[in-house]
């Protein structure tokens, strides 16, 4: 509370014994200390899932299709460009492109897609999570650094923090056995940060991990941030069980707010904490503004991955603005780098 760093053991005690309102109070205090200007930011963006074909097949995922599945797709330029044009028409500044690890797409195809987008549009490319980067590197027989350099030269601006799930290999072996290890995930982020590219970090909780695993995840992000400082935001979101192999019930609203608050308390070196209206709905997302969140994330004009797993919350820009105002904050549209576009 006095601004001292919380240890891993202390963080575990907060998870095990902290009551919701006290955690909220502490997280809110830290949030307001780090962001005293009484605003809540959001970015107008679009999620484009350029392919759903994935060789990894994680057990918590309802979006992927196998290589020869009839529903498998790779987006064509015409559709892609129409989506981007529409995004820009809606005031969008960011494109969040992510896709499955599709063995039929060569790295050169990806680079061409990035170049084509940048040749035709002025939009920030916040795309390709670490598992995709590692996949590209393997396909092209390049190092992570070389892969990132080529992507950056083609026009990639920053990396989203997806694919982190829980940064503990015991958990990953169970929920995503063929996905990259936590060290590989972090290695991609480290290389990106060293090249001056910003990234975010996520955590998908509420599947099979223990509270100690969550703490380990937070501490690993914090340690990396001490080293390279390139994480702009942390985004915890809860596992959505519907249509997944893992199944189960998913976590509760209480657990979400608690985890969000502890994230704010532990990650003293990450500037922004994003709420996840896609997984929690607008009501909970708004309430989370008292539990450490200072950013509403993206408007996500299109989101397919979480929706495939049963989350069905559609929150248009007007609704985001209303929620932020009603909570007593000024809504501010931001860019990916958190510079401001417009106050509402």
């Amino acid at each position: 509370m006095a601004g001292q760093r919380i240890s891993a053991d202390e963080a575990l005690i907060l998870f095990e014994e902290g009551d919701l309102l006290s955690l909220g109070q502490a997280a809110n205090l830290i949030r307001n200390r780090m962001h005293p200007e009484r605003i809540v930011t959001f970015v107008i963006d679009r999620n484009i899932n350029y392919t759903n074909i994935c060789k990894v097949g994680c057990r918590f995922c309802a979006f992927y299709r196998g290589e020869n599945h009839p529903d498998g797709y790779v987006i064509n330029r015409e559709v892609l460009f129409a989506k981007i044009r529409e995004t820009i028409d809606h005031g969008g500044t960011q494109l969040l492109m992510q896709g499955g690890l599709n063995p039929n797409l060569a790295f050169e195809d990806i680079l061409n897609m990035v170049r084509d987008i940048k040749d035709n549009f002025d939009i920030h490319l916040h795309s390709f999570s670490p598992p995709e980067i590692v996949h590209f590197a393997e396909q092209a027989n390049l190092t992570i650094r070389q892969t990132l350099l080529k992507l950056r030269a083609a026009g990639l601006d920053s990396l989203p923090g997806g694919g982190a799930e829980i940064l503990v290999d015991r958990v990953r072996k169970y929920i995503s056995p063929r996905k990259i290890s936590w060290q590989q995930w972090m290695a991609v982020m480290e290389e990106a940060h060293k090249l001056g590219m910003k990234t975010t970090a996520t955590m998908m909780f509420g599947s099979v991990e223990t509270l100690a695993d969550r703490v380990k995840h937070l501490v690993r992000v914090r340690e990396q941030q001490d080293k390279t400082g390139g994480f702009t935001a942390f985004i915890p979101w809860s596992f959505q069980p519907k249509n997944t192999e893992l199944g189960g019930t998913g976590t509760t609203g209480h657990d979400y707010l608690k985890t969000l608050a502890i994230s704010r308390i532990v990650l003293d070196n990450v500037p922004n904490i994003q709420t996840s209206w896609v997984t929690q709905g607008a009501k909970m997302a708004q309430v989370s503004l008292w539990f450490g969140a200072n950013d509403f994330g993206g408007t996500m004009l299109e989101e397919n991955v979480v929706r495939a797993a049963g989350a069905n919350f559609r929150v248009p820009i007007d609704e985001i603005i209303r929620c932020i105002k009603d909570a007593g904050y000024t809504p501010v549209q931001r860019r990916t780098d958190y510079s401001h576009v417009k106050r509402f």
Binding site: L20, G24, T252, H254, D326, A327
Partner: protein, 367 residues
């Protein structure tokens, strides 16, 4: 914890609540205006734990909405229709009996019956409905008919409220739900439910019920056109009657759902999560003579209902079978939560689940 609120705009009220002092109208307005959600939660939680400890109640019940035909057709409502509407329905006594029989020996402890004000159904239909449900399910409590329906029964039977209650109790009525209160302010009622009984009459029906030994609930429909002052005045009138009769069991704020209602356009929006938690917390604080504050999970969603257990709420209603009224207005919640789901949710919030009957007797608490 309390030291954290030194800078709160409502720290004087926190002190008042800590001392157990009654809050006044001005205090209520300041609470409703405050953005300090965590301070409101802290205060409401103090009162909640003083009254109900760590318990969180729920009930296993079945809703029966016997007809959607209604002579009032209030602008706030998406459920009621005209008798010529293709969606109009009225259950026969046999259908109601069948619905009751479906839940025989399933652990349901309450049948909850409310419906529209039907132009033609005879008084006897209502009495016979209660008798049949009671005969099918002799151990099950029947909570039926809002104050609005009771007033209507008194009109169609040309009997006094006391006589109506006597008939209904004889037929099997156990208690009254709290619906139809909306917001008592005449200004508001004129716009959202102009044909509905007045706030004064609603309170009169409840007072009569209490005097005849019936327990009832109370509600407030918020999030439409009412002002903060009108909300506070509504709560204070309930508190006043409760001081007199002590007959209210729980207070249930109902979040307005605009979809499919005539209030839908142009400015009607759903309540926000902040508003929902604030109304629950302030209700807990102002209604110091009510034992229970209930969050109806159908209205605000299970996630927020669970969180509300830290904002003054001690009851999250039930595993509700077949709720039609809120769903007609666009509630996107499920039709029912299983008992296991409710218990898990309550435990995950660090509370002790207690399955109750309608009158808050404990059915089971060893979960």
């Amino acid at each position: 914890m309390s030291g954290l609120f030194e800078n709160s705009e409502i720290r004087d009220l926190i002190e008042k609540v800590r001392q157990g002092e009654r809050l006044n109208r001005q205090d209520g307005i300041r609470l409703m205006q405050s953005n300090d959600l965590l301070a409101l939660g802290y205060m409401a939680n103090l009162v909640r734990e003083r009254k109900n400890g760590n318990k969180a109640y729920f009930i296993v019940n079945r809703h029966i909405n016997h007809t959607n035909i209604c002579v009032n057709l209030c602008p706030l409502c998406a459920f009621g229709v005209d008798k010529d509407n293709p969606q109009a329905y009225t259950m026969s006594l046999e259908e109601i009996e069948a619905k009751a029989l479906e839940v025989k020996d399933t652990g349901v402890s309450e049948i909850h019956i409310v419906g529209g004000l039907h132009p033609d159904l005879p008084y006897e239909y209502y009495l016979e409905m209660l008798r049949r449900v009671r005969d099918c399910l002799p151990d099950v409590h029947i909570q039926a008919f809002t104050a609005v329906e009771i007033d209507y029964l008194s009109q169609i039977s040309e009997k006094s409220l006391e006589e109506v209650f006597r008939d209904l109790i004889d037929a099997g009525l156990g208690s009254l739900p709290g619906g139809g209160a909306e917001v008592f302010s005449p200004r508001v009622r004129e716009k959202i439910c102009e044909k509905k009984i007045s706030g004064d009459r609603w309170l009169e029906v409840m007072e009569t019920a209490h005097n005849m030994g019936l327990r009832t609930n109370a509600t407030m429909l918020y999030g439409h056109i009412e002002t903060i002052e009108e909300r506070v005045d509504h709560l204070l009138r309930l508190r006043e009657l409760q001081d007199k009769t002590g007959g209210f069991q729980s207070f249930i704020p109902l979040a307005f759902h605009p979809k499919n209602t005539r209030l839908e356009q142009p400015n009607a929006t759903r309540t926000t999560g902040f508003e929902d938690l604030k109304v629950l917390a302030v209700s807990r604080l102002l209604l110091d003579n009510f034992d229970h504050i209930k969050a109806f999970w159908i209205m605000i969603g299970p996630k927020l209902a669970q969180v509300s257990l830290s904002f003054g709420v001690d009851d999250i209603d039930g595993t509700v079978i077949e709720e039609k009224i809120t769903h007609a207005a666009g509630a996107d919640t499920a039709q029912a939560l299983s008992k296991d789901e409710l218990v898990t949710m309550i435990k995950a919030a660090g509370r002790q689940p207690v399955e109750r009957d309608t009158l808050y007797n404990v059915i089971r608490e060893d979960f």
